[in-house]
Amino acid sequence: MVLEQGLRKLHVEEQRGPQLFSDNTVTADDLIDITETLKRMRLALQPDSIIKEPSFDLFEGTHSLEVNNKKLDTSLITLSQEETEYDCNTAHGESQVEKLGFVTGIVDQLCRYLICWLNDYQLLPTTILSCRYLEYLLIESANIDDMVYLKTGDLLYDQVLCSAIYGISYFAKFVERLMKNGGVCPEEDLNFNSMGLDFLSYVCEPSKINKSLKVSLEHLSAYGDTANHLVHLLKLIECLVCMEECLTKYSAGTAHLDKLMAEALYLQNKNDSETFILPLGCFSMGIQKRLSNQSPPKSLVIPSKNYDGFIVMATDLKLILSVNEAKTVMELMQFTKFFNKATQRHVISRAVFFAFIIRHDETVLGRYTFSQFAQLHPLEFSLASTEISKKLPEEAVPVLEDITNVLFDWYQNAAQNTSRYRQGYNRQLLLWDALQVQMENIELEFESKMMADRANEPFSDDSMLPFTSWIFAMKVTAMIEFVLKGFDLDVYKPFESYVMFWYSYYLSYQLESCLEKIHKFVDSRINKIVSLNKKIKKLKAGEKKEKLRAQYRFLMDTEMAQLQTNKKFLTFLLMECTIIRSLSLSQVLQFAILKSFNVIDNKSTTKCQFTSNELLYELRMKVFSSIGVPEVVPYNMIESTLNDFMISEPMFALKLKKTMECIQKETQNASIAVDNVIKCIASDKDGEVLYSATRLVKPQATDYFQRLKTSAKAIQLNSKVINAKLENKQTKNDPKSLFTMRLKSCENASSFFPLLELVDTRRQKSKSKK
């Protein structure tokens, strides 16, 4: 308000105008009189309206600062005398021992700040940029576009500290580039508020920095063991400087990452008592006051002993680089599906992922052109040995380009943070759906002119449409993922769990049918080739036999292997689908039991003064509302599905027993399927019946399925616990007043299938009374 009142008093002091510039750099002739314009514009102003740029919206607003507001104005930060007068060109420390301690402390703090910034999502100005030396060196160097060194007269500062700071800054520059690539979300995943500093844009490659680090290490050798900590820090920084090679050279080498982990481990295990004293004023909020700043004042982070953070970063990056070993697109896809699924990977590795596989030379992993990439996906699924793959219609070519783009979206999305990941599927659904319509038309047209790709079976008259089937499978998989990821992110209330589990049941059923159809087709193609051989054996020697033999050989050489692999992979996917379907159905049945006991409803408990349960359902299903197949089930139909599952008198007890048995059976089904799947993942190889293509993400894929198995067991147990509680004589009459429901994630279980937990409100109340 003080500010507003002050502003009201503002007026133009016309006489003072030119004298404002007392240093005579600007004369009256240089100025334009805008008094009249200002007066005219003032008249046009509406009272109480806000003066702003049209593009300045609420988002800008919530990030806006306010002059003279202590919490929002960094110019009001107060600094100590040491901070204000800190001189970077003085060798701080009385003795050489103290100087070494200071320099070690500064580098140590900077390295730990790196982890605060990258692993704990802290800001640059409150971490590494708070270092007076880093600010000074970056400013001075930018002035001459070359690295400037300190001039304290002591090499510990002038050489060792400078090289460490340039190493760290060079790594930060790599992070900045990663962020600009767009693999991860600025602000959400990573903050790069450089405060207007130039992060070594003039240093194009790292050799100068590496050399400088080597010189520093040589210099430190004279100090013996006393410089041990600093030596290891410099070696760690050397590894950080190399990190960019995965993108500058597309190198999948990991020697520097192994070394980084070893150095970090050494530093982490070092005696805790070793704390370093820092020269006063060397880390400070001063930069927030001095330089261009879009953030309000923020205190500096206090870094913990966090060297293990480097190990997390290096381990995850190693995992990403191992994608280079993918032998097929199937392996690449499975890698992408699992690497970030159960645990969110380190931001650097997520940012590297997409840029590492989709390369500047317009190839994928330097191996496939984009168009090959688009065709290989369906080929390693449903397209092998089909008519359309042999005579691809011209109209399909532009659609292949669209497929490439949607696939890029899919690959990029897999590396997003856990919340964005679900939103990505929200966007992708539309893309896959549009592709499906496009491709279906082309394939139907092709079929009408040429030949249909149909399973060679007596009663199978519907064709498989290989492209469309693949797109449909991708779409429905995305839909299931979107639905179940909502549980992981705690997006649904217990009352919504019926609809969401029912949908995942419904969608996995749809997916299963599609996969079965493709499986049947692939099987029939394999049989066709095998039967050719039988035919040959029956024929007498002669031209016809030779011709057939040549044909057989050709098919065996070109199609059989892919068909066999596809068949086993489809069997694997079918099993995965069974697991999801069975677990979803168990949850649906559990909900129905709970509703039959009247402890939960599938409707919001609100009085719905402004809305209705039907609108709420439709809002929840909004993402799917435009999808043609599988279509959204209308509200009243969803209601009737629940009624079908519910239990009522007569013979309530018997029906309850049957439903419980059903849950038992479904969870057991899921468990058995998981066991098979895990066995297949462990075996690595192309097995007899199953192939998972998860060679490069074995632990991650195993963990994902193991969690599903734990969920299956937990659901089974939970159903017994619920039954015991509800069948209890004391609670039987009015369970609704005694229990509430919540969705609970269990340890080591899949967060996609939280338990419908019955919570005793009496116990809660008595607890809260205490």
Binding site: G61, Q122, E187, L619, K622
Partner: protein, 173 residues
């Protein structure tokens, strides 16, 4: 008795109190611009609560601040920007009344839905809004810088809220 009144934009004292009320629960205050952004453009969508029995009966003890705008020119979206009740007056249904008044007004003005964001850890706010029918539509990772995730909540008022904007007809006006 608690009474509820729409904002009087000319009353700077109310403005000052309201700002203090809201800033009290924020780790980082909003700049004056944010308040002016809401209040000067949509003064009719801000409601204040007063304790008539208190000595300071002219100082608001609760407030809700909203806006309403066309979302991609396809549906009208109401947005609850801020809500706060002074701590000693909490748990008496004041926030609920304020929010209801605001929603009623926005509904009358033709809103198809009401939206807001709140921190995942703010159970009180989540209970309050979900008790009125709001659904969590998505979770946002580290929405509040340096702090936790947030949920985006929507309360659908008309069928338009339940159709993706891409498939809604553009408003001509």
């Amino acid at each position: 008795m608690i009474s509820y009144r729409p904002l009087d934009l000319g009353n700077l004292l109310h403005f000052e109190h309201l700002k203090r009320l809201i800033d009290a629960d924020l780790s980082e205050p909003y700049s004056i611009y944010v308040y002016r952004f809401f209040l000067n453009r949509w003064p009719e969508l801000a409601y204040l609560a007063f304790d008539d029995d208190s000595e300071k009966s002219d100082e608001p003890i609760g407030c809700v601040i909203c806006k309403q705008e066309s979302h991609r020119n396809r549906r009208m979206r109401g947005y609850i920007g801020m809500l706060a009740v002074e701590s000693k007056y909490r748990g008496r249904g004041i926030a609920k009344t304020l929010v209801k008044k605001a929603i009623k007004k926005m509904q009358k003005e033709g809103c198809d839905e009401i939206m807001l964001e709140t921190e995942v850890s703010n159970n009180v706010a989540l209970n309050l809004y979900e008790g009125m029918g709001f659904l969590r539509m998505k979770r946002m990772f580290r929405y509040y810088l340096n702090e936790g995730d947030a949920f985006k909540l929507i309360l659908p008022l008309t069928a338009k809220s339940c159709v993706r904007t891409t498939f809604l007809e553009e408003n001509v006006d």
